[in-house]
């Protein structure tokens, strides 16, 4: 499989009055051509910071991408690009859609103008050409009466339609990578189903690779090819969806999977709930960042960062339980053979 994006040892920090918050702490991953990679985790685990760093959208200062971080796209390192090179990259090669379509659209511009903007800048189209293309894009994302709608403002659109318009803007220049940061969190389930289907459909037509940032494991199971689980600024486990859902290895992944009620489970049975809160990233722990909340915690977990263990070709986990000297712990019963 061809890698389209490769991230090596990415570290992002924010300088605040209280000190340096290490939001992303040395993560490495890659994205294959045309696939969907899901990034999951609780709020504050660094999902959004990671995805914004890929386009260098982190305000610097207070943010800082540490030296030694590499984000390789087409052989070029995004971390060292000039502002001019970045402008060419954003919106044409890599695009992003955000969680809240109301605050990320410009309320003073018509939807059609907002879509044409990137076409005029990146493709050198004239205003009229760009508008015709914009209407085509709106049609592609299934907005009825596209030619009329293109001349309307964001407030005249409903939530689901705004998100469709956002997708039209993001895909206007046919990017190679689309980063979707919680694209359906603000939407209802039926609209969510429509939007996810639309993204999958366009992905097939245009061959775009998608990075989907979300906390909804249901959506992930529906559309993703691979998953990476983040906790306290690190990737603690990654693998194909089948591996993560049927053979998860990290206690945190177990906790995440168990805390969602499944439609088949008993009513009012106690849901698995994870105690405590994620660590303070001003002073990240020396050992495994999950140690304080982990029920299988051992002495070594508090002292040293666990190494990466390879489970299979596409499945890696960071946990001391996988060490040859560790006691053998089975996957919790609730996650085993529940089919």
């Amino acid at each position: 499989m061809e890698k389209i994006l490769e991230v090596k040892d990415l570290k992002v920090s924010f300088h605040t009055y209280a000190g340096e918050v290490q939001a992303v702490r040395g993560i490495s991953f890659h994205l294959n051509k045309g696939e969907t990679l899901a990034v999951v985790g609780e709020s504050g685990c660094g999902k959004t910071v990671t995805s914004k760093s890929l386009m260098r959208l982190i305000p610097e200062p207070p943010g800082e991408i540490k030296d030694g971080s590499e984000i390789l796209f087409d052989g070029k390192n995004i971390c060292t690009m000039s502002e001019k090179e970045l402008r060419e990259l954003r919106g044409s090669d890599i695009s992003m859609i955000f969680q809240d379509p109301m605050t990320s659209l410009n309320p003073t511009m018509t939807i059609g103008k907002q879509i044409s903007e990137s076409l005029i800048i990146h493709r050198g189209m004239s205003k009229t050409e760009a508008m015709t293309e914009a209407i085509k894009m709106l049609d592609l994302v299934n907005i009825p009466d596209a030619d009329k709608r293109a001349h309307q403002y964001p407030h005249e659109f409903s939530g689901g339609m705004r998100q469709r318009a956002m997708i039209a803007i993001a895909l206007a220049c046919n990017p190679k990578i689309l980063i979707a940061d919680e694209p359906t969190t603000a939407l209802d389930v039926t609209i969510q189903a429509q939007i996810m289907e639309l993204i999958a459909d366009l992905q097939q037509k245009l061959g775009t690779a998608v990075i989907l940032v979300t906390h909804d494991l249901g959506v992930v199971a529906d559309v993703a090819d691979r998953i990476q689980v983040m906790y306290a600024g690190q990737i603690i486990e990654h693998g194909t969806i089948d591996e993560i859902f049927t053979n998860p290895q990290h206690p945190y992944t177990w906790a995440l999977l168990q805390s969602v009620p499944r439609l088949g489970t008993d009513n009012k049975a106690k849901l698995y709930s994870l105690q405590g809160t994620p660590p303070d990233l001003l002073k990240p722990p020396v050992g495994c960042s999950f140690a304080a909340r982990c029920e299988y915690c051992m002495q070594i977990c508090r002292e040293e960062m666990p190494e990466v263990t390879t489970i299979s070709e596409n499945h890696e986990v960071c946990c001391w339980l996988k060490h040859s000297m560790a006691p053998k712990v089975d996957i919790p019963e609730a996650l085993r053979g529940d089919k």
Binding site: V189, Q192, A193, A221, S259, L263, K268, L271, K339
Partner: protein
């Protein structure tokens, strides 16, 4: 599980209209009837704008009803005098969706929880302090948290404060208006466990409003599905999720993404075209008819009534005439 058949809340043909212009009426809740037994949880689900929050607030008497009755223990909530209203407020409480906006940032947590105790003159002095400590512990916080301010807490902790405030005056009935929507999955599980545990210990009755269908199924004994201000289906959560009858319920349930790739691959999704139409001056007939794949001519002429099709399974749809 409710162990008796005593009905605590009975809502009869409740209507709540908002005048939004000279000739425009927003029918947020239109002719909704249901009842809740003592010690039971009734879930209320639907997409945004379907009127579930308005319904919850009208039941609480926070909005005056346009028409219809809300009977709490046999007495109409909307026809109370001042004194009786205060008495009702002691027996029924609400937990709000947004744990950030619903706590006064200038009051300490102890005072937020104690406010209701003061208003109803339940405890004073040392007893009041002890009661506040007891409540904090009940929802899993510490005594020391009482002297802190809301901004010092995380989202999940704030929601616990909201729950402690609702419990402070020992109510019998609590409306939970999307209490978990603003929280992370792992925290959601904590709050839901807490609500279930409190119900079992204190025998509370809940009206649980949410749009997360799997969570609603988990906590509720019976579930009502709302669409554009009307109740389209009402049944025990087992029946509703196992054998949904109304076309809208079927579509809504099939849209829930299941955290299991195997199931997702083999699932047939019922696609709903378009979006929920505006509730302003709705057309006569079934509200769901324009998006329904089984729609017949009668659907756009006559409004279907909620009928009992099977035992305790109510549906409002012309398919079952």
């Amino acid at each position: 599980m409710p162990n008796n058949n005593e009905i605590l809340i009975e809502v009869k043909n409740l209507k709540k209209y908002f005048q939004v212009g000279k000739h425009a009426t927003l029918k947020a809740v239109d002719d909704v009837s249901f009842f809740i037994r003592k010690g039971e949880t009734l879930g209320l689900v639907g997409e945004s704008g379907c009127g579930k929050t308005t319904c919850g607030r009208t039941v609480m008497g926070m909005y005056g009803a346009t028409d219809g009755e809300v009977l709490f223990d046999g007495i109409d909530v909307h026809k109370l005098n001042k004194k009786a209203k205060k008495d009702f407020a002691r027996r029924a409480q609400i937990i709000f969706q947004d744990p950030y906006a619903s706590l006064n940032p200038r009051m300490t947590v102890g005072d937020i929880i104690g406010e209701g105790i003061d208003i109803h003159n339940l405890y004073s002095g040392q007893e009041r302090t002890n009661r506040i400590y007891e409540l904090l512990q009940l929802v899993g916080l510490n005594k020391e948290h009482g002297s802190r301010f809301p901004h010092e807490f995380s989202g999940g902790q704030r929601q616990r404060i909201g729950i402690a405030r609702a419990l402070a005056i020992e109510p019998e009935f609590i409306v939970c208006d999307e209490p978990i929507s603003a929280l992370d999955v792992s925290i959601q599980a904590q709050v839901v466990n807490l609500l279930i545990q409190l119900q079992q210990e204190l025998g509370l009755t809940y009206l649980f409003i949410a749009h997360d269908l799997s969570m609603v199924k988990h906590i509720s004994d019976r579930v009502g599905v709302m669409y554009l201000g009307t109740m389209v289906e009402l049944a025990s959560s087992h029946d509703l999720y196992g054998k949904p009858l109304h076309p809208y319920t079927q579509a809504l349930l099939s849209a829930i993404p299941v955290p299991d790739p195997e199931v997702e691959r083999n699932k047939e999704r019922i696609k709903l075209e378009g979006e929920v139409p505006s509730p302003i001056n709705p057309k006569p007939g079934c509200r769901f008819a324009p998006r329904c794949r089984y729609a017949k001519p009668i659907c756009s002429e006559q409004t279907p009534m909620l009928k009992e099709i099977e035992k305790e399974h109510y549906v409002a749809c012309h398919l079952f005439d």
